[in-house]
Assembly symmetry: C2
Homo-oligomer: 209 residues x 2
């Protein structure tokens, strides 16, 4: 088994933190996204979506998409459960994880990829070029600001994003907050709840994964 | 238990088909999105995300996000499994469902919401207004065309989107193909594999849900 990874990128970090929280060790190989190695012939043959993280099992089966890799490991090693325990908890975790992704993670990615000079014609991940849309970068920044407010409000009501227990939704939210640093946005003094939560998560050993 | 629904919209259709495949009956209430009832005070108090589908349990717990509602029911009624059986299958289903969503469903939604006159300032779902971005509508149409090609290629290799078995990834892909009709895009004569698959799915009773 091997996990294709790139240490500096936010998306594989979600998987690394998830694995570390479960104490699962998987051999990794770095794919240098800065050098666009994910678009090279060798990696493209492995994963035609040209993206990391990408997991290859011993029989050659490949699993792409961060949350799909996490689901595979959750099914294999259920403890500690990071996608919820009871049916209601599972629904809540999936809901909050989706909200963190759509309102947070994707908004940061939109703002970053549609403005960064190094991502010209790479406005979305994947094998095919797509032009940047400056208005989308601008909209992304607006959405990130709203996301911080909403995250802070949520964390004023519950200790973790999906409720009383740490879950994959916290991983997504944490990685999103740190990713926002790439576009020079961050939690403000008014986001006391989210800052307290971020500090608490930063002290978990898995967060450094 | 009550499922807030809107019959003509693609997103709640994913949940209705999922429930019908599992033979689960849930009382529904229609929220008229065309009249923007989801933004009204009454529904907003229930679901501040102002979106359907939205499930409310008997104890008042709310679950939003189509896939979160499906996950709740999958945990409660595992048979037939629509998110995969083994860990590998679960990973594959989540991967393909994500690919159908990001490359397909979201591309159609981008193309539709950023161009339709009725969605002025409603370019994304949710409580807050966002201006349409014409370039995003155009990019969405380009991505949908690519998506049809990729879907057809995939369905030349396996009978169902995630492999040998019908899964939630088929539901997402089917709803996406039908949703694309809203922007006057559809499978072409060259998409024989996808057309055969679509025809076969259309004959399943649950598809009419």
């Amino acid at each position: 088994m091997k996990l294709y990874d790139y240490k500096p990128a936010p998306s594989p970090r979600r998987v690394r933190i998830f694995l570390a929280e479960k104490n699962i060790e998987v051999p990794t190989e770095q794919i240098d996204l800065r050098a666009q190695s994910q678009l090279g012939e060798e990696f493209r043959r492995l994963n035609p979506q040209c993206a990391v993280p990408y997991l290859v099992l011993d029989d050659g089966t490949g699993i792409g998409e961060s949350m799909a890799i996490c689901r595979y490991f959750e099914a294999l090693y259920p403890e500690p459960p990071l996608f919820g325990r009871t049916p209601v908890e599972q629904g809540q975790v999936e809901m909050w994880n989706r909200v963190m992704e759509f309102d947070g993670y994707l908004a940061v990615a939109e703002a970053f990829r549609n403005a960064a000079p190094g991502f010209k014609d790479r406005a979305l991940p994947g094998p095919l070029p797509l032009e940047q849309i400056p208005a989308l970068a601008e909209r992304g920044r607006l959405r990130v600001a709203r996301f911080f407010d909403a995250l802070d409000e949520r964390l004023g009501a519950t200790p973790f994003v999906a409720g009383d227990r740490y879950s994959v939704a916290d991983i997504t939210a944490l990685v999103t907050v740190d990713f926002a640093g790439w576009i020079k946005l961050g939690l403000g003094a008014q986001h006391g709840n989210a800052r307290r939560w971020h500090e608490q998560l930063a002290s978990r050993p898995a967060t450094a994964a």
